[in-house]
Symmetry: C2
Subunit: 564 residues, 2 copies
């Protein structure tokens, strides 16, 4: 009896804790803390782009105060790949903690550029790893596994802990015919699965999409057709700068069709330079030409690779569309390919760029018309394949909004994972695994820290609320100087407005506003109300009521009283 | 010879002028002026919803100053159908001009509601017309033609003018199996085509989409499946209020599956009431229940029809998703169908609602998963059919952004219209047709007038620029009282900020700002600069430089000087 039950009642082991600090219920700022005993490390430290409500905010990073508070336990930072949502928050973290960084050569190459910008180069130890390498981080070991994605050199990790093996896929897809390098290391996922995997954290981005994601090579086939169709026109292709395989394909077809390649847009120029330097991008001698020199070539001798596939207002393609690009003047001799699909929220921006390019007479090919883009993320059949190979005991869907996490959880159930062993969780939750159970045992601070200019975290909800208020109805300032002794008005009230109405056409309303403000102050004085706060409130109320009545708007009203 | 050339050299006739005032290079605020001799009428007067840049703006209407200036020529206003982008601007126009309005019964029913809101009811003559009716408007006659669309009672118009027949399709699709009434009157389009049509203005909304738009009945088939799948759950369906055929189908399936129907959301309640009153919506006795009384029924006895299919923040469905709806508490016993596709720009809002509904445990069906929505606009095959029937001499693509107009023009070429007889034009252009030629002969004022609260047109580019500035970086106010005689500072400078930084955590910076402002004033005084404008500029520059240096932000700086 005793012997027979051995496997049925497994022993609890030294627990490992998983603390997601970003990437759940959101797309972006992926970051996960792994802890065991006195050791801690981080997988990824990304950024997110601000929502529309985050007025004026440049970017968003995770709240990593928990890591800062426990920095003596931090043994390392592991990065899965070089996308902004996985590395963009790193420089901000490295300003307050220091730990060796481990990742692939390309990822670290891109990190280097960021560290330089932030004046951190040379202060951080960057360690290049290869797929199948294993590094020790305290009582844990991290093994790197090759995966396919829309940037080269992407890695999954298998974390070997006292409690068992935890597999984190990072972003991935299964591409049987990748442009460079091998298909994702399915064999290793399978081996780990056979040894027994305690928990799997898997990319949910495309979990709502059935089928398989198409190979990057599919885009190449489209390019091949389109290069022929372009005939004697100049070709302009907009794409994500980080999609180096896409750029490689463009270069390859340019060579084939005897065209030179010029590059436009800051991030495109940077990535092309970095990827070429590191050998990820292979551009034959004499193919690359300066954007300044494109006029020396005929249209049919040129391909321009550019940023702006999302219609970003300051990007090179948008500037071309608005006839505002210093080197490229779009004309009916241009054949333009937008090799990306609009990220939700960017559809209108992209449409605007397409409209303007068409107005300039260019031919424009975009995703809905032609297969000029494939996703970098696994769809349902791929996710099921990984679930089938890894056969995890516990499953935590990662990277996605709730609808994606939920779908991924449903897939896991369909693949035989016990529904009660699946956890859809939130950032800041401390998940403990002891080899037997998975439990949420607590919460640490987590959330979004807004970066605006040099300020990190100094824009919070009050500032945003004020910005929103100002944005919607503008502002009325009422300035009054009052004699501190007599309580009499010495100057003003003067009324200044911004973003409210066109003042020249609203002189009567402004005069009336002044009158009402004056009356408000005088009423207070007559009632012996000398408390500035009370007078200000009276001004706010009376002016606010009046303006609402005549305009049905609620500008921010700012009374300023100066005591003389 | 003379006789033979008769048809080859057609005579010029009394010219007719077409002046689009909205709906070109945009989706929304459709409005077209038709003029002949001393007579003028309008086809449609719609509104548009503001872009993201139009901060705080409620809605946008066409600039109809040209109509106001020529109101003595205005013989009538013709409305094609009851969508906001065709009738929403009407009450604003009717405040300055008066003319009889002609349209179908449902359209005028919806117009009535608007006129009531604007206190215009009874002041405007509303004339119900039937398909195939013809009305005289000065020297022109307008004939109404039945079309299919996503609202009942939609009409195309054939304008009989001295120069020839002009056909305007309005919004349309070809639905061979409409929910109510007939298929679009293709026979009449064909008859007109055989008589000879001078010009066609045609809906371009779906001109980039190949194939045929599916019948509204297709949605019914999906509903039938989904009602079965919902089993014992409560069904909640979000849809456009104006899609009365959709609502009719929901009611019909509710009856079939023995469920009561409750209605939520102001516009849904209004439209259901109006459409029932006018007989467009047929709800059997005892089916409709008050939303207040839904708790008296089991989940499987209920269907709730609601607004919010676009994730609009204040809509009923969004409030349900945010657990903020007074009558409906979403729970795992809810089966929710979003019967619409997100309008470009609304994807994130819709996604957010879906995420929140899923978190509450509800099952959520949306467009990408299931055919729960069809468009109201004709796709390429339908557009080609109309082109083939009408065989116009001249073609003007209408209703769409440039990319749609361009595609529609290409379709017309494919259908045999001469490329030089096609005009992609802009609002404000005066297009003249004399039976022989089509020419742009001039321009009239046209554009977008922003409505914010009660203000119509008082928010312009300067106000928007200020709102944008305030939204992005907030505001710093510097208030100083100066002795007008000595030039000495009597009080201040006081610094007030909003939307810039969280002031409690930036006290040093604020103190420094005060110091710099004080120095600026003192420097001016020392240099005998007493011109307030110059002192203000100095404060702006110095404070701005300092804040840029420490924050890399550019708040709006508003210096106020009071002379004592
Ligand atoms: Zn990625
Ligand atoms: Zn990612
Ligand atoms: Zn419509
Ligand atoms: Zn319309």
């Amino acid at each position: 009896n005793k012997r027979g039950k051995r496997t049925a009642t497994p022993q609890k082991k030294t627990p490992v804790r998983i603390i997601p600090l970003g990437g759940l219920h959101e797309i972006g700022k992926n970051m996960t803390v792994i802890e065991c005993g006195n050791d801690m490390f981080i997988v990824d430290c990304g950024l997110a782009f601000p929502d529309e409500e985050m007025l004026g905010v440049d970017l968003v990073i995770p709240d990593f105060s928990y890591v800062e508070k426990n920095k003596e336990k931090l043994r390392g930072i592991v990065l899965t790949h070089g996308h902004e949502d996985h590395i963009g928050g790193l420089p901000f973290l490295l300003k307050s903690v220091n730990a060796p960084v481990y990742s692939s050569r390309l990822t670290l190459g891109l990190v280097e550029g960021k560290l330089k910008e932030h004046g951190l180069l040379g202060k951080v130890q960057l360690n290049v790893v290869q797929p199948r390498d294993t590094i020790k981080l305290g009582c844990m070991a991290v093994e790197f596994i090759h995966v396919n994605h829309s940037i080269p050199d992407a890695l999954a990790v298998a974390i070997h802990t006292p409690a068992g093996i935890i597999v984190m896929t990072g972003d991935f897809k299964i591409d049987s015919t990748p442009i460079e390098g091998d298909i994702i290391d399915l064999a290793r996922f399978g081996e780990l699965g056979n040894r027994g995997v305690l928990a799997l954290l898997m990319d949910s981005t495309n979990a709502a999409k059935p089928g398989m994601t198409m190979s990057e090579r599919k885009v190449g086939e489209s390019f091949s057709n389109l290069f022929q169709r372009a005939q004697d026109k100049r070709i302009i292709i907009a794409s994500f700068a980080s999609n180096i395989h896409r750029i490689q394909q463009i270069v390859d077809y340019a060579v084939k069709y005897k065209r030179k390649v010029a590059v436009s847009g800051r991030s495109m120029i940077n990535v092309v330079a970095k990827a070429t330097e590191l050998g990820y991008l292979k551009i034959p001698e004499g193919i690359l030409v300066e954007i300044e020199g494109i006029n020396r070539y005929r249209p049919d001798q040129l391909v321009i690779i550019t940023t702006g596939s999302q219609g970003e207002p300051m990007s090179a393609l948008t500037r071309m569309a608005m006839s505002d690009h210093r080197k490229v003047t779009v004309n009916p001799n241009d054949f333009i390919i937008i090799s990306a699909s609009p990220i939700p929220g960017n559809e209108k921006l992209v449409n605007r760029v397409i409209n303007e390019l068409l107005k300039l007479g260019a031919e424009v090919i975009y995703e809905k018309m032609y297969e000029v883009h494939v996703s970098g993320h696994a769809c349902q059949e791929e996710l099921k394949m990984i679930l089938g190979l890894v056969k995890p005991k516990f499953f935590i869907p990662a990277h996605g909004e709730y609808l994606h996490l939920k779908k991924n959880a449903d897939l896991a159930v369909a693949m035989g994972v016990d529904r009660k062993n699946i956890l859809i969780t939130e950032i800041g939750k401390v998940i403990e695994l002891d080899g037997v159970d998975m439990k949420v045992i607590g919460t640490v601070p987590a959330g979004r820290v807004m970066v605006d200019g040099l300020g990190v975290g100094d824009v919070g909800s009050i500032v945003l609320r004020d910005r929103k208020h100002l944005a919607e109805d503008g502002l009325i300032i009422v300035v009054t100087a009052i004699d501190g002794q007599t309580g009499e008005i010495v100057a003003g009230p003067d009324v200044v407005s911004r973003g409210f109405v066109y003042v020249r056409e609203a002189e009567d309303m402004m005069a009336q506003t002044r009158k009402i403000a004056k009356k408000a102050v005088e009423t207070c004085m007559a009632n012996n109300t000398h408390e500035w706060g009370n007078i200000k409130n009276k001004i706010k109320d009376d002016v606010g009521d009046y303006l609402w009545q005549v305009t049905k708007r609620t500008p921010m009203i700012l009374p300023v009283i100066q005591e003389i």
